[in-house]
């Protein structure tokens, strides 16, 4: 049995080892090299790239990425929780509503981001409607700022928050809510003091599933932020393309990975039941 099992796992090991772990090792090595005169990598070995990370300019980008990701996560939670609650209580139509939530997810992320470009620009639908209604006289600068980026991120990752929340809410024991009602709790108190605490695992899972991709987001700040809302993902891409500074880009990537792993260890340490 063990031999058969080894055969079953071998292809995955080859792929993971060769196409995921080996590349990470390569960029780890690159992060300790120097940039060639016109780009690429060269000797000597040095930790200079990591030292450059401490520059306030780059710490500022890290900070911006963190608060944009955090705000997006909180908004997803605030918007997604009532939705998950509704679906979990809707009886017969649960699957239909779930499909409706997941349907945008199946469409291209690029298309969904482009949809907001289409709506938010100066001559886009929102501005035109507001101008026609006489609410504003000049177009509002809705695009190319942090707000647009957050909107795009919330729109893109809302389904990722709703699903784990729904999963936990669905398993909630109704009797607990009945007991709370019997003891005199009003619906709002029952919500805040019974439902939400019991949902904690789902909230944690959803928060991780939203925060981490938002932290490393690239497309959304690129298209909706106009290259001004530079986040870590954009900085990394920039170093590997136009700036051609591979050691620095590698150092930033590994720093990002370290943050992600620290978050995972901190958040999921308490959870024995993982996804795998």
């Amino acid at each position: 049995m063990n031999r058969l099992r080894a055969w079953f796992l071998a292809p995955s090991w080859i792929v993971m080892g060769g196409l995921f772990l080996a590349p990470l090792a390569v960029i780890f090595a690159y992060s300790l090299l120097t940039r060639g005169v016109y780009g690429g990598i060269a000797r000597p070995w040095t930790a200079e790239s990591y030292q450059r990370l401490a520059d306030p300019i780059y710490l500022g980008i890290l900070w911006r990425s963190v608060w944009i990701a955090a705000l997006s996560t909180v908004l997803c939670l605030a918007l997604g929780f009532p939705l998950a609650l509704f679906i979990s209580r809707s009886g017969r139509h649960k699957n239909l509503y779930l499909s409706l939530v997941m349907l945008p997810f199946w469409t291209s992320f690029l298309v969904r981001t482009y949809a907001w470009m289409f709506l938010l620009r100066d001559t886009g639908l929102i501005n035109i409607v507001l101008e026609k209604l006489g609410v504003i006289r000049a177009p509002l600068p809705l695009l190319y700022n942090n707000g647009a980026v957050i909107l795009g991120l919330v729109y893109g990752y809302l389904p990722f928050m709703v699903l784990p929340l729904y999963a936990t809410l669905e398993r909630l024991d109704r009797n607990l809510l009945e007991a709370a009602a019997d003891l005199g709790a009003r619906p709002w108190s029952a919500l805040t003091r019974v439902t939400i605490p019991l949902c904690a695992p789902g909230i944690r899972a959803g928060a991780i599933l939203v925060f981490i991709p938002c932290l490393g987001a690239y497309l959304t700040p690129d298209l909706l932020g106009g290259g001004k809302s530079v986040m870590i993902g954009n900085l990394i891409q920039n170093q590997f393309t136009t700036a051609r500074d591979w050691p620095f880009g590698s150092a930033i990537s590994l720093a990002l990975m370290a943050i992600v792993m620290a978050l995972l260890v901190g958040f999921l340490r308490r959870q024995e039941e993982g996804l795998l």
Partner: protein, 260 residues
């Protein structure tokens, strides 16, 4: 009294749900609606299929679409097979190292996966002289799809009764036969769902593909991005509508097959 309050909450929740669903779907519906607009500006100037005609006659778009399709099909087939085998093996007995690697590949930001693969390919190029092309993209897609497949198939495996296999073994089947004739048919819906997920993720990928693609492997998301970068273009609206309908149909078909 409690019943009245609960109903009011129920109504409020329902109204909120309607608003939330509108938020989720309206942007895409508007995008699709304006793909039929004769003018390229946001002022409605009459119904027209011109943009669809332009999209379907653009040779670059057609080639990119066919590239995306080929890459997605190859990547899906390979990652589904490898991922299913892996999920089965890990269901028998967990391998923390492999589980950790898979989970890490799931949460690693796409940009990091992409640049690490690019750096890896460039490093290998010094020895093997293989240029970037379709194969580098397909390999990259396989790499990031496997974790998705493993999760979905594993979820399906967990709902299965392990005793079925034991019974087969008792009756004289060997391990491979037990897997092939007992387990596989049971988890097949899960495998198909995983394949669908892998296909979607591969077809839709922009970040990783744009970094590791070669001259001949431009994909549909890359072309869309190049057009979208210049600003709003109704051709993108048309392509987007086609993609949404295409995938919607795919999902519907798979749902029908699953419940059949």
């Amino acid at each position: 009294m409690n019943r009245v309050v609960v109903n009011r909450t129920g109504l409020g929740l329902a109204m909120y749900a309607v608003a939330a669903f509108l938020f989720l779907h309206l942007p895409l519906l508007i995008l699709a609606a304006f793909s039929f607009n004769r003018s390229r500006f946001t002022v409605w100037q009459g119904f027209s299929l011109a943009w669809y005609r332009a999209a379907l006659h653009d040779s670059q778009l057609l080639e990119a679409s066919s590239n995306s399709l080929i890459i997605a099909i190859f990547a899906t087939v390979v990652s589904t097979i490898i991922g299913t085998l892996c999920a089965y093996g890990m269901w028998k007995r967990n391998s923390p190292a492999l589980a950790g690697s898979l989970y890490l590949s799931l949460v690693t930001p796409e940009i990091v996966t992409g640049i690490s693969l690019l750096a890896f390919y460039q490093w290998i190029f010094r020895f093997l002289r293989i240029p970037l092309g379709m194969h580098t993209v397909i390999l990259a897609h396989i790499a990031f799809s496997i974790a998705f497949v493993v999760i979905v198939v594993m979820a399906r495996l967990r709902t299965m009764d392990g005793q079925l296999e034991e019974a087969a073994l008792d009756l004289g089947a060997n391990h491979w036969q037990a897997f092939r004739y007992i387990t596989l048919p049971v988890i097949l819906p899960g495998v198909l769902a995983a394949a669908l997920l892998a296909f979607t993720v591969s077809f839709d990928d922009y970040v990783i593909t744009s970094l590791v693609a070669g001259v001949d492997s431009e994909t549909l998301p890359m072309v869309i991005y190049a057009i979208a970068r210049r600003g709003v273009n109704p051709v993108v609206n048309a392509i987007s509508a086609l993609i949404v309908i295409g995938f919607g149909a795919l999902i519907l078909i798979s749902e029908r097959l699953r419940s059949a």
